[in-house]
Symmetry: C2
Subunit: 407 residues, 2 copies
């Protein structure tokens, strides 16, 4: 199928990740290979960059900049959280026509896949040839029709390292601060919190407990779980999803009087769960409770970029351009894990309509029955994504010196 010569525009949307620039560079590098592609435009701050005609010329970026961007976290084009309106789609088409844009690539999560689907629709109804392809990214790993999402592996690597580090710290503190709660990103999906389990070498290693939004938990069970580990080891490290709910499906933070904020897409922004649970534990156990809220470090920590994630994010960017040049549109690039003993993936395509606005939750076979830990199946799924084992740590063997019983 002969392709229409025209210009390309690429944008980044939603929350940044550590590797999202790899997808951008993947699009650019692959675009360099096709004569049909004229200008390569970058939209500043996602779709609002098209609406406001804030476009940059990506062909003028130096090879060194592009190469270094592959190590640079966060969205180099700027990102946006903006819900495109019906009138906007009319205007988008006008802009595409004015700039002769024939290739549209949007690197983003669920909302961006919905936007990309709608961007495909109007031009095709009006007979304007436009190839719109979604490029997946999200640290939440909650996109449908893909084995996993670029962005998740690096965030998972950071979370596993963070929980292991704070776990060693908590173990060392002993009775001076024996309980540690770490709040992990994930409003509705527990993938990233589950990844904290990659910190464990042995069953008694931190994190001892983890709680995800998919499995509501009663305060009684929570306190009981922590108490058991604390009694057994003298300390306890817990990974708590920011979106954790109680057994009735209510947000802990909100139940505790936390305020509710709603973003442009109507998503509730969570908060306060760690503070609430710390209070409950302190009253129940009578010991010092400490906490970490690594917040945006989870999705931006370039130093802990997973090399697998880095490569896959680049790969999906390239695959998106190849798909468009093969005549595809209204599709999202996916990652397909190949069967076999060694971890291997290839890219695929899925219709955007099948993925837009669908949140893929952590399936029940990845969560233990009590809802406070993961299964081996999850560990097998997630371990390759963080790009190699965590660096090796040691504990002393602690051979006791016989007591001389000084009274």
């Amino acid at each position: 199928m002969g392709k229409k010569k025209g210009n390309l525009v690429v944008g980044q949307s939603g929350g940044p990740t550590a590797v999202i620039n790899n997808s951008l560079v993947g699009v650019i590098h692959e675009a360099f290979r096709y004569e049909e592609i004229g200008d390569i435009y970058g939209m500043l701050h996602g779709i609002s960059g098209v609406l406001n005609e804030e476009l940059i010329d990506l062909r003028r970026e130096s090879p060194d900049t592009l190469e270094t961007l592959r190590d640079t976290p966060a969205s180099a084009l700027g990102t946006v959280r903006y819900k495109v309106t019906d009138e906007d789609y009319e205007r988008l088409l006008q802009v595409f026509q004015a700039y002769d844009v024939r290739y549209f690539f949007y690197i983003g999560g669920n909302d961006s896949m919905d936007t990309t689907h709608k961007i495909h629709t109007l031009p095709s109804q009006k007979g304007y040839e436009l190839h719109a392809i979604g490029v997946p990214k999200t640290v939440d790993n909650d996109l449908a029709e893909t084995d996993h999402c670029p962005g998740f592996g690096s965030a998972a690597n950071f979370v596993a390292a963070a929980v292991r580090n704070t776990g060693f710290d908590t173990e060392a503190m002993g009775s001076s601060g024996p309980i540690k709660l770490t709040e992990i990103m994930g409003r509705n999906a527990g993938w990233l919190t589950a990844a904290a389990a990659l910190a464990k070498d042995k069953p008694e290693d931190p994190p001892h407990l983890l709680y995800v939004p998919e499995h509501g938990i009663s305060l009684e069970q929570f306190v009981d779980d922590v108490r058991q580990w604390y009694r057994r080891l003298g300390y306890c490290v817990v990974a708590v999803s920011e979106g954790l709910k109680n057994e009735k499906g209510e947000e802990f933070g909100i139940a505790a009087g936390g305020r509710v904020e709603v973003d442009a897409f109507g998503h509730v922004r969570k908060g306060g769960v760690i503070e609430f649970l710390s209070e409950v534990l302190k009253e129940s156990l009578g010991v010092t409770i400490r906490s970490d809220k690594p917040g945006y470090l989870q999705r931006s920590f370039g130093e802990l970029m997973s090399r697998v994630d880095r490569e896959e994010a680049y790969m999906v960017g390239r695959a998106a351009v190849r798909a468009a040049m093969a005549g595809e549109s209204d599709k999202k690039v996916t990652l397909v894990r190949l069967p076999g003993p060694e971890y291997e993936v290839q890219t695929g395509l899925a219709p955007l309509i099948k993925v837009a606005n669908i949140e893929r939750k952590l399936p029940s076979e990845f969560l233990n029955k009590r809802g406070n830990g993961v299964t081996d199946a999850f560990l097998e799924y997630a371990r390759p994504l963080i790009g190699g084992p965590l660096i090796r740590y040691a504990r002393l063997e602690k051979h006791p010196v016989p007591k001389r019983s000084i009274k």
Copy 2:
């Protein structure tokens, strides 16, 4: 001076750091070299391990364990926050006599130096030969009589990386979340918050503002500072010390109704400053305020261990044993920076009485006049300690595409 043959005991106290195990291994490795040293005991959980006769035999640890501990954060022996009483010192002497301990090494901060001084005092009054040497550690960098403290460089490296990463994230978010506050450790000293400035390559890079406990700040100035940067760049990243005070010297968190907790040494444990300042900014600027509280990750993040800090922590452990074997006691090992264009340090010794319970604050020449940033002198001081530059990141050059002004 002929040394009495006897046993050695070493312990770790106070908050762990990423490199404190290097000091432990330094003590052990150096101790291996002396025939006068019999058993090498480790106290579990600091001085309480001596009081409770919970000692381990460090000669039985494998070389691989010791080598791997050099990469392992947090206190491998366990740590403690316990204020030793007068009766305890009597008992400590009894335990030392019963176990024939002649060499005592305590790796810790201000409180531990005070404890070490007192541990020296009673045996020397009673004619029991004991060599007690303090080995400095603290991420707060607030020990007197030393250029800097082992532990600080690695925490500074983490803080600089964290603020740079969250800064790139904030820049990318633009109007969807333009203000970021990151809470940095430091109850009374702003060294670690100041280290966030190492994230900057250019004056307009994050962090745009930083606030330390040494310089109280009015809410008016704070809001005004943030507003100026936000207007200029469209975003603003701020590093805030957990111990920040207002212009009257009051804690923001407490002023905002936060509860006050006091640890075993009577130190107030701070909290709530970020939440309070976020509220104030939100009301004043009317935009989304985001925050990170990396908490204990700052002092435990093994993956971002500074190689300079790692080596120096090992060095002070070895130097402590050498000092004791040279007949010293009641001293602390220090780091002395040598003059010259290349960064170079050697170890020294300072009397414990000169350093115990003295908090070294960030000197005024390291802070700018407005108290919201550091001077070049601070950057020159701190940069070598993080063990090399942060990995290179890039920004797009963003050559604008001429607007075609679609209406």
